[in-house]
């Protein structure tokens, strides 16, 4: 009887290993065990204000998304006219300002740390791509204000965009197209790429200072020797 159960379990395990859901689950569990995905201890060298700006950028992005959702629900006749609409509109603007402010300081800090060391090239690359996508998202936001400012910016930008050839399919004078890019495509892109960036940070760990860098440029110091 017990032999039958064992055989049944082996067959079940073998069948499970062929399923893509099982393979994805196992790969995710291997790459991101819970204590690495949501760690409660970090290396001692992380006790510096310069390591704070990444999470400040993420928090700012969350505020951008939240306030953007409120603006999308209520519409321009609300954000241009009512007091609360002005307030949420300003929150959306200033969360973007802080997002870029913190992201640029984060970028400077990581650049001078050479944060691509130790097999972290993909972490750096996803950060760069998310920075570029954010610029496009912010630009289309300026075009989506539905006021004279957005008209001025779009007419000033059209020649520059057209000179690149992108104007053939990406027309900054097309309000509907720019609005859709701003509230659908680019936010999805930024959130997905930024999410991948954070997952890469969790996977590879925080880059250590130069003087305690592992010789083999290999495993993550944060996973290997948490001390803070």
């Amino acid at each position: 009887m017990s032999l039958d159960i064992t055989t049944e379990r082996d067959a079940s395990s073998s069948e499970e290993s062929r399923q893509w859901t099982a393979r994805v689950r196992n790969a995710a569990a291997t790459a991101f065990p819970p204590d690495r995905l949501l760690p409660d201890r970090q290396p001692a060298y992380m006790a510096s204000w310069i390591y704070v700006f990444g999470v400040l950028t993420v928090v700012s992005l969350a505020w951008v998304i939240i306030t953007g959702c409120v603006l999308a629900v209520m519409g321009p006749s609300w954000w241009h006219v009512s007091g609360l609409g002005h307030f949420v509109n300003s929150l959306h603007l200033w969360s973007v300002e802080f997002f870029f402010f913190f992201m640029v300081i984060h970028l400077w800090g990581k650049f001078f740390m050479a944060a691509w060391r130790g097999n972290r090239k993909l972490t750096w690359a996803t950060g760069v791509v998310s920075f570029v996508a954010s610029i496009a998202a912010a630009f289309t936001g300026y075009l989506s204000q539905a006021n004279f400012d957005s008209q001025w910016i779009s007419t000033q930008a059209k020649d520059g965009i057209n000179s690149t050839g992108a104007g053939a399919f990406w027309n900054v004078l097309n309000f509907g197209q720019m609005l859709m890019w701003h509230i659908v495509l680019l936010p999805i892109a930024v959130v997905i790429i930024a999410g991948l960036h954070v997952l890469m940070v969790r996977r590879r760990g925080i880059v250590p200072p130069f003087d305690i860098e592992p010789k083999d440029h290999g495993d993550t110091p944060s996973a290997a020797e948490p001390s803070e």
Partner: protein, 58 residues
């Protein structure tokens, strides 16, 4: 005096922007202020000590 009026009185944002010209370089004062603030915060973030919990040696 309401809080909104008090805040609005700090900087008057109504009006055309101010620009600095240096050869072919042109930058708005607002952008220059933001860049200088970012540099200041970056330097402070490196120099200022990070608070630690009591009882932690490392």
């Amino acid at each position: 005096m309401s809080f909104g009026v008090l805040i609005a009185a700090l900087i008057n944002l109504n009006g055309s922007g101010h620009y600095l010209h240096w050869g072919f370089v042109q930058i708005s004062v607002a952008n220059l202020v933001v860049i200088l603030l970012m540099i200041a915060v970056f330097v402070l973030a490196i120099l200022l000590p990070f608070p630690r919990r009591k009882g932690r040696d490392r």
